[in-house]
């Protein structure tokens, strides 16, 4: 999995594709050295939650009412961005099949840190009603770090909102270091991912 110079071997790629993908290993980022600054930025991160617009499961349907007049998540600084590069929150909308997991990993890795994951529904916790499905993963946190779980099948938008509040609280408190956890334990995560994703035709880390 690793090259000598601490880069990825990208074994999943064809030889002629090697040069098309970056094979560098990500490194964990440090918080700002001045605590006040870090706190200030954490406050801003908490108040500017940009959701990655990727409905990964049936729970994604609960995101739409969140933006309507009834719930108006906008007022909490929550808005949807169409590209992972610009988003900071990944809402996993419930069950995720192996196939979707691959896309989730790709998108998650393409998000820029600090990034947060909000897992929605019981399926992300222990498989829920899909506990014996041959193509649904059972524990999301084996594959990507999750900051907040919202249980239920399905959780209502109110539950989702309360999940966001919990996320905000954690961000402000500086507890949301999922991105760093992911990077630090990357090999473990990659092992888990590759164990279920048999057709790994992408680089080891999707920059």
């Amino acid at each position: 999995m690793k090259n000598e110079d601490n880069t990825f071997a990208n074994n999943g790629l064809l030889p002629e594709e090697m040069d098309l993908f970056c094979n560098a290993r990500p490194v964990p980022y440090e918080p700002y050295s001045i605590e006040v600054v870090e706190k200030f930025f954490n406050w801003m991160r908490a108040n500017s939650l940009w959701i990655m617009a990727f409905g990964t499961g049936c729970g994604a349907i609960e995101l739409n009412p969140l933006m309507t007049s009834r719930f108006d998540a906008n007022r909490y600084g929550i808005q949807v961005r169409p590209t992972p590069r610009q988003s900071s929150v990944f809402v996993i909308g419930g069950y995720s099949s192996v196939k979707t997991l691959k896309r989730i990993i790709r998108s998650y890795e393409q998000m820029q840190g600090p990034k947060f994951v909000l897992a929605l529904g019981i399926c992300t916790i222990n498989g829920g009603m899909y506990w014996d499905s041959y193509n649904t993963i059972k524990r999301l946190d084996h594959y990507i770090p999750v900051d907040v779980y919202i249980t239920g099948c399905m959780p209502r938008p109110e539950a989702l909102l309360s999940g966001f509040f919990e996320l905000k609280r954690k961000i402000k408190a500086g507890e949301c270091d999922g991105a760093n956890r992911y990077v630090k334990n990357l090999d473990w995560y990659k092992d888990n991912q590759k164990r279920v994703i048999k057709k790994w035709d992408m680089p080891d880390y999707n920059w």
Partner: protein, 1040 residues
């Protein structure tokens, strides 16, 4: 004794005596026969040569009357300058023909005898002053012709000979009958006496007599429609014989016609008409020809008709020497070139035009072939060029405008089929038969070609033009041709050095606008030649031609007379055409270029002739004294120069040429050669602009300019081929220049020149950059490139600077052009034109982005992974150009001030400078300050970003690390957006750019060919038809 031996009568005697001797000698010693035969011919030649030498130094013509008896019972000859020259020429042709055909001729001694007698008959026709003698000689010549036509017993030739006999018999019958009647009325057979006693030729008999004689002579001169038999002869006779028929026999008949012309004064208009008809129709039919010798036949017929036209139109109106110059020039040209082409056709033994391919394999043959065709088409420095020029001048002086147009139309048509032949011969066809090198005896061709050069030189000398600037380019090119064996890089170096010295020399002698253009064009070329070193190939012929091109630009810039200007123009056209053919697939498009350029040249020639008619001088400075037809003249100039520029409607040649020629040459073509059109516009403008009161022509030109700009830009948007894109972009840029020129005020002209300089800099830069890219990627299709920034950063930088400059975005110099453009247009009151120009410049962003994105940005193809930066020698000129762009961007004054001063000679300046602050009547612009502000506002965010970046880890990623809707991209080819980039724009506005101009010109070509076919209907190949046509012809002449 020597003088006795050189007496003209000896010609006849030698021929006859040898004729008798040959069969006798042949019995004894075969080889001696041949020697004797040639000795006789050479003797004749020497007599003629002696005559030429004597008479040109002022000796009186010799009158020979044999046997002391008065004509008609003796032979009455006159031997003067004309006669001796023509005899010399025909004899030389005869000697060379005989030499080439020797193998065939010497098989049978009677053929040799016939040939000799034939020559004697021709010479006799030329010399005799007795009309009955003339008949005899005509008969002798005709009989020999018939026999020689069919001497190799080919059935086609025999049938052609038979048709010729029918026609010849009819002709001589008419002639003899006419002579009879004339003798009856005048009591003399001497032509001079007959002319002097013209009053005696009266009544029906006199009329009939003259018509008969005239018909007899005309039939032999092969006018349309009674020349079907002649064409059959040309096609099927052995090519040497055909050559003789085409030039020597025709020469004799022409001279006969000239001698008899005083008798036919009443018919002169009709003869002119017939000749004119023949000239145009033959050339129309020539378009449809595919058989080489028949094609040459049509050309011969046309050339003879042209000479007849020149004689009939100008006889008595201009001095004899001038007439001799014109007709002589045309004739000599025809004689040398046509005979050599017939020989070549015979030696190569390729019947059809389509078989003439792969001549590149034999450079010498190609060179000779090209020279001969160029001579035939009337390109400099060959005699026909000078003769045609003088002909046009004289026709214009005598108000023969209709005939001028006719001559030009016919010449253009002739140029089309002759040059198509040439262009086809450059084709590389892979087949074994035609790809082997050609081994033929080129001595005679060399002689003809050298003779053509020399006679061209002589004629120009006789015309009194200054030789040095005109012939220096050709000599330099020929000189460089000697070093063709060296490597390409060395040759590029040599060329560059010569060009630099030459430019320096030229620039010392130029002032004003010419100096600016000199600096632009010559220095620009020198810079671009540096780029030519990037290729390893030897590139045979490329550099001499390049030098020729550059030096012809010098000729053009230096021109003080319209002749020099036109000469330079033609030379430039020719050399640029030949250079285009160094490209791989450029044949078709370069041919179109050549045809359009020929058309352009004829428009310019027409305009110059009209000017000459009014001023009586070819000095350019005198042009502003004209008082008539100013608008017409100006319009002709405009059309001529717009074709060169690629103005709307005339642009069809441009994209093809730009895309197919060698990549470094395209830079020269776009950067330099297209500016010549601008120079031409300014030339016309400076000399004629003041004389034109009617603003309409400028108004039209202005609209034409902005519409060109708009549609050029729009067409560029939809191209897949990068060089085509840039070509259309050039068309668009030229459109702005034309529009600015049409403003006809100070600011407009300054803008036009400023834009020209800009275009030279940035388009040259882009073309050089893309040349490197094409060199590395081996494709010109943009969708096959992409992401090359990583491999070729310097080329990218060049392209980037180029597109910023083109688009007119501040702070680079392009903005100055745009700014002045709008100011000038608003000042003039051309608001909508300004709006349209703005639209065009907005559209420019579309194609510029497409260009830089699809080539340098986006996804790189996997096969381009290993590419490296463009060759160093290609980068040097780019760096130079970038430096120039940067300097002029930083201080626009350095560029605008000299332009403004140069234009201020013609229009008072409306620009005011305060330091770097430039002001017009509406606007102001401080390029220096803008540059500083832009630098400032650029640095501000850059510093912010750099500072912020210090706290962030920025990972450099690869091309596929993109957000791709959570998928991974499949292949670079499918991820790179390039093909049909502006599909939606095409949906919106694509209907504006349907290829209407191309369709129009295609239909013109189609129509011309249909005309040709229609005219051909009369040529049934049936002797009876031909005979009845001749009779009909006679009847018509009789009653008209």
């Amino acid at each position: 004794m020597v003088n006795e031996l050189l007496n003209p009568i000896i010609i006849i005697i030698v021929a006859l005596a040898t004729g008798f001797l040959l069969p006798i000698v042949d019995k004894k010693n075969k080889s001696f026969t041949v020697v004797l035969f040639f000795m006789a011919l050479i003797w004749i030649g020497l007599i003629a040569l002696n005559g030429v030498v004597n008479f040109s130094s002022g000796a009186v013509a010799v009158e020979v009357i044999t046997a002391g008896i008065s004509p008609p019972f003796s032979i009455n000859l006159q031997f003067g300058l004309f006669e001796s020259v023509i005899i010399l020429a025909t004899t030389l042709i005869a000697i060379m023909t005989a030499w080439l055909m020797l193998d065939q001729l010497k098989e049978n001694v009677s053929t040799l005898v016939l040939f000799l007698i034939w020559v004697m008959g021709i010479d006799g026709m030329i010399m005799t002053r007795d009309i009955f003698n003339l008949f005899i000689f005509i008969e002798i010549t005709a009989i020999c012709s018939f026999v020689l036509t069919g001497f190799n017993h080919n059935s086609n030739a025999l049938s052609a000979g038979f048709k010729a006999i029918i026609a010849g018999t009819l002709a001589s019958s008419f002639f003899l009958l006419g002579v009879m009647f004339l003798y009856y009325q005048t009591g003399t057979l001497n032509i001079d006496d007959m002319v002097n006693n013209q009053s005696l030729i009266t009544g029906v008999i006199g009329h009939a007599a003259l018509v008969m004689v005239l018909t007899g002579v005309l039939i032999e001169l092969k006018p349309y429609p009674i020349n079907g038999w002649a064409l059959d002869v040309y096609q099927s006779a052995p090519s040497g014989i055909a050559a003789m028929m085409s030039v020597s026999v025709s020469a004799a008949y022409l001279f006969v016609f000239y001698k008899l012309l005083p008798l036919f004064q009443a018919w002169v208009p009709m003869i002119t008409l017939i000749a004119g008809l023949t000239f145009v129709v033959s050339n129309f039919i020539g378009l449809k020809q595919t058989v080489v010798k028949r094609l040459l036949g049509y050309s011969s017929v046309a050339q003879i008709a042209l000479i007849i036209m020149a004689i009939t139109l100008l006889n008595g109106k201009v001095s004899v020497s001038l007439l001799a110059l014109i007709t002589g020039g045309l004739f000599l040209n025809h004689l040398l070139a046509k005979s050599a082409l017939f020989w070549l056709a015979g030696m190569l033994n390729k019947t059809h035009v389509a078989q003439w391919t792969n001549l590149k394999k034999s450079p010498v043959v190609l060179f000779l072939f090209g020279c001969l065709l160029a001579a035939l088409v009337g390109l400099p420095p060959f005699p026909a060029f000078w003769a045609k020029w003088e002909l046009m001048m004289q026709l214009a002086t005598h108000q023969q405008h209709g005939w001028m147009l006719l001559v030009l139309l016919g010449s253009l048509l002739e140029a089309v089929y002759l040059l198509r032949w040439f262009s086809g011969s450059l084709n590389d066809v892979k087949d074994e038969e035609s790809s082997s090198p050609i081994r033929i005896n080129t001595v005679t061709l060399w002689l003809s070609t050298v003779a053509l050069f020399v006679s061209g030189f002589t004629i120009s000398h006789l015309m009194g033009v200054s030789i040095t600037p005109l012939f220096a380019p050709i000599l330099a090119a020929l000189f460089l041709l000697l070093f063709d064996e060296l490597t390409g890089k060395t040759k590029a170096g040599i060329t560059c050095v010569i060009a630099v010295f030459y430019s320096y020399d030229i620039l010392l002698h130029l002032t004003g606008i010419n100096w600016i253009f000199g600096l632009m064009l010559l220095m620009g070329s020198c810079v671009f030649i540096l780029g030519s070193m990037y290729r390893d190939e030897q590139r045979r012929g490329y550099f001499p031609l390049l030098l020729l091109l550059i030096m012809s630009l010098g000729t053009l810039l230096q021109a003080k007379t319209s002749l020099n200007f036109f000469y330079g123009w033609e030379l430039m056209t020719m050399s640029s055409y030949l250079l285009m053919n160094c490209g791989k697939n450029a044949l078709k498009s370069s041919f179109i270029y050549l045809i359009f350029s020929m058309g352009a040249a004829y428009f310019i020639l027409f305009a110059f002739a009209l000017v000459f008619a009014q001023t009586g001088t070819i000095q350019l400075d005198a042009m502003n004294t004209i008082s008539q037809y100013q608008t017409l003249i100006f319009a002709c100039f405009m059309i001529g120069f717009l074709i060169k520029l690629g103005g709307l409607g005339f642009h069809v040649w441009l994209p093809g040429v730009y895309s197919e020629t060698e990549d470094d040459y395209t830079a020269i073509l776009s950067g330099v050669v297209s500016k010549v059109g601008v120079f031409g516009l300014l030339m016309a403008g400076t000399h004629l602009g003041q004389t034109i009161n009617d603003e309409m022509v400028f108004y039209v030109l202005g609209w034409l300019g902005v519409i060109t700009a708009l549609l050029g830009a729009l067409m560029a948007v939809f191209q897949e081929d990068v060089k085509k894109l840039l070509a259309y972009s050039s068309i668009g840029q030229m459109g702005y220049i034309v529009a600015c020129f049409a403003l006809m005020n100070h600011l407009g002209w300054v803008t036009a020149m400023y834009l020209s300089v800009n275009h030279l800099l940035y388009k040259g830069l882009i073309f050089l950059a893309i040349a490197g890219v094409i060199y590395r990627t081996q494709t010109t299709l943009m969708y096959k490139m992409g992401g090359l920034l990583k491999n070729m950063p310097m080329s990218f930088f060049s392209a980037l600077i180029g597109i910023i400059a083109i688009s007119g975005v501040p702070p680079l110099l392009g903005f100055g052009g745009k700014w002045m453009l709008y100011n000038a247009m608003i000042e003039k009151g051309w608001y909508f034109q300004a709006g349209m120009a703005f639209f065009a410049s907005a559209i420019a962003f579309l194609y510029l982005f497409r260009f830089i994105h699809t080539v340098f940005l986006g996804q790189r193809k996997s096969e381009h992974k290993e590419l490296v930066e463009a060759p160093f020698s290609l980068l040097i000129p780019q760096v130079l150009l970038i430096i120039a762009i940067m300097v002029f961007s930083l201080n626009a004054k350095w560029l605008i001030q000299p332009l403004s001063d140069a234009v201020a000679v013609y229009y008072p300046s409306t620009l005011t400078w305060t330091g770097t602050f430039l002001q017009t009547s509406q606007g102001y612009w401080d390029g220096y300050l803008v540059m500083n502000v832009v630098t400032g506002v650029f640095l501000l965010p850059l510093i912010i970003l750099l500072l912020v970046s210090t706290t962030t880890k920025i990972q450099k990623v690869k091309q596929f690390n993109i957000v791709y809707a959570a998928e991974r991209p499949d292949k670079p080819e499918t991820t790179h957006v390039a093909y049909n980039f502006y599909a939606f724009y095409e949906k919106a506005l694509g209907f504006w750019v349907k290829p209407r101009a191309t369709q129009f010109w295609n239909s013109v070509a189609e129509w011309s060919h249909t005309m040709g076919s229609a005219c051909r209907i009369l040529y049934t190949g049936n002797g009876q038809t031909y005979a009845s046509l001749i009779v009909l012809f006679f009847v018509i002449i009789y009653f008209v």
